[in-house]
């Protein structure tokens, strides 16, 4: 068979074959088309060759058009990677502006409280001149009177004297001597949520104080009398 191919190419120049392909690509020039037609009339082998080429194309084109399998689109959509978070968040924000504002407020509030919680793991005590400090323990000595609220963080408090105000112990314990006296409330805060609750209450109290400043001034001045 390959010998025969050789013969064709030998007897009829590759030029004619090239014209055939130009014809099939619809790019043949007028003159060359005439030459091709003339040659095909004379040369049986080339005519067969040309016929076979056209038949080949017809056969390939006859292959019926096939369709994608069932559920093709659904299968792809299931396999697509998740939309980037950024996009999903943006779309959510567009659809729920009020919820977005509310949740933003909540996030900011919680995160500021959490960072406050994380920051103060060091012992600290509110500054009053007559409080002693020994090994993470604040001491209200016997016979002394501490004026104002006391807040102890990450440590204990031992009250032997008097306190005119509230005592709050965060992450610690209180020890009371029998002679001690606290005029205000005594609170121990140990858990994170209790602490949060304490903070929220405090924020709200501070807030109300802002609005009723004058009243508070009057109240504050009372103990001093």
């Amino acid at each position: 068979m390959s010998d025969k191919e050789g013969e064709i190419n030998m007897s009829c120049s590759t030029k004619i074959i090239s014209y055939m392909h130009q014809y099939l690509d619809e790019e043949i020039e007028e003159e060359n088309l005439k030459e091709l037609k003339q040659h095909l009339d004379q040369c049986e082998e080339c005519a067969t060759h040309f016929h076979e080429l056209k038949k080949t194309i017809a056969l390939v084109q006859s292959t019926s058009h096939i369709h994608a399998p069932m559920n093709f689109t659904e299968n792809i959509l299931d396999r697509l990677p998740e939309e980037p978070k950024r996009v999903r968040v943006k779309r959510w924000l567009r659809h729920h502006p009020m919820l977005a504002a509310a949740s933003l407020f909540l996030i900011l509030m919680v995160s500021s409280l959490m960072s406050a919680w994380n920051q103060d793991h060091q012992f600290s005590v509110s500054k009053q001149p007559n409080i002693l400090v020994e090994n993470n323990t604040a001491i209200v000595p016997e016979g002394e009177t501490v004026k104002g609220d006391i807040i102890v963080r990450n440590g204990d408090i031992k009250i032997e004297g008097q306190v005119e105000g509230n005592v709050t112990v965060i992450n610690g314990k209180k020890y009371m001597a029998s002679a001690s006296q606290v005029t205000g409330e005594i609170k121990e805060v140990n858990e994170v949520f209790e602490w949060l609750w304490y903070h929220i209450k405090k924020t709200v109290t501070d807030f109300t104080e802002l609005f009723s400043n004058d009243d508070m001034k009057d109240k504050n001045s009372l103990p001093a009398i």
């Binding site: 392909h21 056969l59 390939v60 292959t63 096939i66 994608a68 943006k90």
Partner: protein, 187 residues
């Protein structure tokens, strides 16, 4: 159609996954057909056609709106097909040379008194045979023949899809036609 496609692409770029579903619907048959004719069997064709759409989705930001979307999509599909053909193991390749048999088997299992006319069976067999011959072509000829005669694309489009000079595309089509002619001349 291009205008609609570009609108959908804008939506996909903004992150709308469902807009991409519309794009798949528009092109799934063409892409599947390219893959099927290139690879010769439905299973692999489905696999690669899906992969082509997924790649298009992931890389959608790289698509240049100045060009036809189909050109870009078909380029992804043909490149994946060519990669798959090159990665085939030799024994698997021999398997794949018997394409369309899943369709043929299905019909050949129908009893002779079945409803299918004899002509249809013959046509199925002829189709399978032609596909087998296409699958025998070296992949560089196969790609141009599939794009030209099955997808009926212009030489310019084929040159853009395959990122080849027009002259190279022509040469490959000529050689592909000659190779197929030798294979199909006694049909």
């Amino acid at each position: 159609m291009e205008a609609l496609v570009k609108k959908r692409i804008q939506q996909v770029l903004k992150g709308d996954k469902n807009a991409f579903g519309d794009i798949i619907e528009l092109y799934k048959d063409k892409v599947f057909q390219i893959c099927y004719r290139m690879l010769g069997n439905r299973h692999e064709a489905e696999d690669i056609a899906q992969e082509a759409f997924i790649r298009a989705y992931v890389n959608i930001h790289r698509y240049n709106m100045e060009y036809k979307f189909s050109t870009w999509l078909y380029r992804i599909a043909t490149n994946l097909c060519i990669d798959r053909i090159r990665k085939r193991k030799p024994d698997y390749y021999l398997d794949a040379e018997v394409p369309g048999t899943d369709g043929l088997n299905m019909y050949s299992q129908i009893p002779s008194e079945g409803k299918l006319p004899e002509e249809d069976v013959e046509s199925m067999e002829l189709q399978a045979m032609i596909q087998r011959e296409i699958s025998k072509l070296p992949e560089k000829y196969r790609a141009v023949i599939v794009l030209k005669y099955i997808e009926e694309l212009s030489l310019n489009e084929i040159s853009e899809i395959l990122e080849l000079p027009l002259g190279t595309v022509k040469t490959r089509i000529h050689r592909g036609r000659e190779a197929l002619r030798k294979q199909l001349r006694y049909v």
